[in-house]
């Protein structure tokens, strides 16, 4: 969003913009600046996630660019009663209930939300651009850090796209190991969602319970890969290592325990009266609207559309497993909660089947142009040494072409587009991040509701700013 390689930031100044000012009050001098710099203000009805003019045209650099962003024309389009008094407030980017550095320009009439404009880009990290400067397998740690609660999914989407380009066959054992880790990651992501959502609407104790189970899952990740987060376990062509001894027992213990824990959470929340009054019939959006905006994942399924890429376009042997796709009926926040709770149960079922049917065999492809040879071969085989050297220094060469690999992430369709020019570095890496697309529907969900319901709706939307801004 704010790609501005030429403009030097003036971040040493003290007069940081935004954060808690009434935008309408500042409208006048913002308009003046617009005249001075000649930058056109955003047209009415522009895209919700606001795209901004490049900063390089602004003489004052970053700070002037930041101050020159004008939303007044967009705010004028809010439909309301004639005598109503509108108040535009700014939520974020530092707000405890925005799940990251999301900024919401909210127009209120009393307590009723008339308009919401999400402003993104506060966590823009330039990951996609940086990937273009890395060898294919060294871009995996970077893409993992996009949606930081779904690191296995990011790696899976990227590795899948590169494998499509390479036409590389992934061994069955690696596919099953991937499924196990993906589903563990899905449970972990939903647990963090559950804890923070409950916290946002005032049920504090759930956070401790859900983070207890999250720690158990992170222990499993650490056991198999050595890291708690951003494990870099998935490798192009398979997984980096076989699971260590004893891991299976730990996983089985978790699989035994988890349904009971989910019962505990349900006992605390599902019929809790406060929880019900905050969640039921709030944030409703019809399925047609969601589909028109490209919303996927639990949000769409809660509205009654059984769209799940694990069923629709099975990847990584998902068609081997027996699981169901939970759907809601009304599409309110309560349905979103129920769908995610049911998804965790289904994930446990998938893990159970995968660990029962885990096939023997290699865990990474034997194609020496793609995967590193085993360590012991380096001492005996000259060819292995050459392959090792080529891979470590230059990396693998990928045939020219384009690939888009979509998987079902915890927040919806997570797709990775990779374009190769035949060299050892990707020419373009782009993620279709589900949070970014889903955020477009926030306005439809919140308009006409109370501002307190907006907090619950935003929490149930489960946006991850790392994925949105990248």
């Amino acid at each position: 969003m704010t790609d501005e390689p030429t403009a030097r930031p003036a971040h040493r100044e003290h007069d940081a913009p935004a954060a808690g000012t009434d935008v309408r009050e500042r409208g006048a001098d913002i308009a003046d600046r617009d005249d001075r710099i000649g930058g056109p203000s955003a047209p009415a009805g522009a895209a919700t996630a606001t795209a901004e003019a490049p900063a390089s045209v602004v003489p004052g650099g970053y700070r002037a660019h930041e101050a020159s962003i004008d939303f007044s024309s967009q705010l004028g389009t809010v439909a309301t009663q004639d005598e109503a008094e509108l108040l535009t407030i700014n939520m974020g980017p530092h707000h405890p209930a925005t799940h990251g550095v999301l900024r919401l320009l909210t127009t209120l009439e009393g307590e009723v939300v008339r308009d919401v404009k999400p402003i993104v880009g506060y966590l823009h990290t330039g990951i996609e651009k940086t990937c273009e400067d890395k060898a294919y397998w060294k871009a995996i740690p970077l893409v993992e850090r996009m949606d930081y609660l779904a690191y296995y999914f990011n790696a899976m989407a990227y590795c899948g796209a590169v494998e499509d380009l390479l036409e590389c066959e992934v061994p069955k054992r690696a596919q099953y190991l991937r499924v196990i880790h993906l589903e563990l990651n899905r449970i972990m992501s939903h647990l963090v969602w559950l804890g923070t959502t409950a916290l946002d609407i005032g049920a504090m104790s759930i956070l401790w319970y859900s983070f207890r189970e999250r720690e158990t899952i992170l222990d499993l990740f650490e056991y198999s890969s050595g890291q708690r987060m951003h494990t870099r376990y998935f490798q192009i062509g398979g997984v980096a290592e076989d699971i260590p001894g004893g891991w299976e027992q730990s996983l089985r213990r978790f699989v035994r325990e988890m349904p009971k824990r989910l019962d505990q959470y349900s006992a605390m929340l599902t019929r809790n009266e406060i929880f019900l009054s905050r969640m039921k019939h709030t944030g409703v959006a019809p399925a047609a609207t969601l589909q028109a905006k490209g919303v996927t994942g639990p949000l769409l399924r809660a509205a009654g559309v059984p769209w799940d890429l694990r069923k629709a376009m099975p990847y990584s042997s998902y068609d081997d497993f027996d699981f169901q796709v939970p759907v809601g009926t009304e599409g309110d926040n309560y349905d979103r909660y129920l769908v995610r709770m049911a998804e965790m149960r289904e994930s446990v079922r998938i893990i159970e089947q995968a660990i029962d049917g885990l096939p023997e065999g290699p865990w990474i492809t034997t194609d020496r142009k793609v995967a590193l040879p085993p360590r012991h071969e380096l001492a005996t085989s000259m060819e292995a040494l050459i392959h090792h050297f080529k891979l470590v220094t230059e990396g693998m060469r990928v045939p020219a072409g384009e690939a888009y690999h979509a998987i079902e992430g915890p927040r919806g369709e997570l797709g990775c587009f990779v374009r190769s020019d035949g060299s050892s570095k990707p020419a373009r890496v782009h993620m279709r991040d589900s949070s970014f697309i889903n955020l477009q529907a926030l306005e439809d969900m919140c308009r006409g509701g109370y501002i307190a319901d907006m907090i619950a709706t935003l929490a149930c939307l489960d946006p991850l700013l790392g994925g949105i801004d990248r």
């Binding site: 790609d3 930031p9 530092h94 804890g195």
Partner: protein, 255 residues
């Protein structure tokens, strides 16, 4: 009838128990000694302790300190962090308050939603060019004394990204403690907070104002009366500390 509970950690005796063995009373390791102390405390309250006994009792049970040290002790044990997550590290920061790490053991569990109530800002994640002015503003809104921890590689040194959009925190605000890792384990962050606590309690000049040579930049609420000469005071403090360090007088008596 008197009941003495043995082995209970919270068996607090009556106030002003003599401190022959200050930990024995709490752990209940020696019931007899505890009983003796209890008797003497009772005698004191009745006014039956006189002369040398009274002198010894007072000497054992009263701790003298300076107000400054007492305040620092309290500050170090009740650091209120700001609820402020940026990226991946913020999830690990949340798990600090979780059951396993339980940061409330060190008095830092009270996450504040507004910078005006917080003592500590944990920069949990990458700070982008667009976010840096806002982070700086949030930091400026915090009241003195305030501390900052740069959690993770990104906010310390731009980490794996190291590109056009990420700014290390040191470029735009002072940082007291850097916690390395990508993301750091919660244990590492606890260690960072304990480091900060030591910094607050032991030697206030170890903090960033010394490192950045920024004495005199403190902001205080305006009072109606005579305002102290902050610059002179902080210079004096720095000089005192330097003299103390030079003389290797580490027992805390000052110059």
């Amino acid at each position: 009838m008197e009941v003495i509970r043995h082995g209970a950690g919270s068996t607090a005796p009556t106030t002003n128990a003599p401190a022959d063995d200050p930990f024995g009373a709490l752990t209940g390791s020696d019931p007899d000694a505890f009983r003796v102390r209890q008797q003497r405390a009772r005698d004191l309250l009745r006014g039956e302790l006189e002369g040398d006994d009274l002198e010894a009792y007072v000497r054992e049970s009263i701790v003298t300190t300076t107000l400054d040290k007492a305040v620092k002790w309290a500050q170090g044990n009740s650091i209120f962090p700001l609820t402020f997550g940026l990226a991946c590290c913020s999830i690990e920061m949340i798990s600090l308050v979780g059951a396993r790490m339980d940061i409330s053991r060190f008095g830092s569990e009270a996450m504040r939603g507004t910078p005006r109530q917080a003592d500590l800002i944990i920069l949990a994640g990458r700070v982008s060019m667009k976010m840096a002015p806002i982070v700086r503003r949030v930091y400026d809104q915090m009241l003195e004394p305030k501390y900052a921890i740069a959690m993770g590689a990104c906010s310390s040194s731009m980490g794996v990204f190291n590109n056009y959009s990420v700014v290390p925190a040191d470029k735009f605000m002072p940082v007291d403690v850097h916690v390395p890792g990508c993301p750091p384990r919660p244990e590492a962050v606890v260690y960072g907070i304990l480091k900060l606590r030591r910094m607050i309690q032991d030697d206030p000049t170890m903090a960033w104002r010394d490192r950045y040579r920024a004495h005199g930049t403190e902001e205080w609420a305006r009072s109606t009366g005579e305002e102290p000469d902050i610059v002179a005071l902080s210079r004096e403090l720095a000089a005192t500390t330097a003299a103390r360090n030079a003389g290797d007088d580490r027992d805390g008596t000052g110059a």
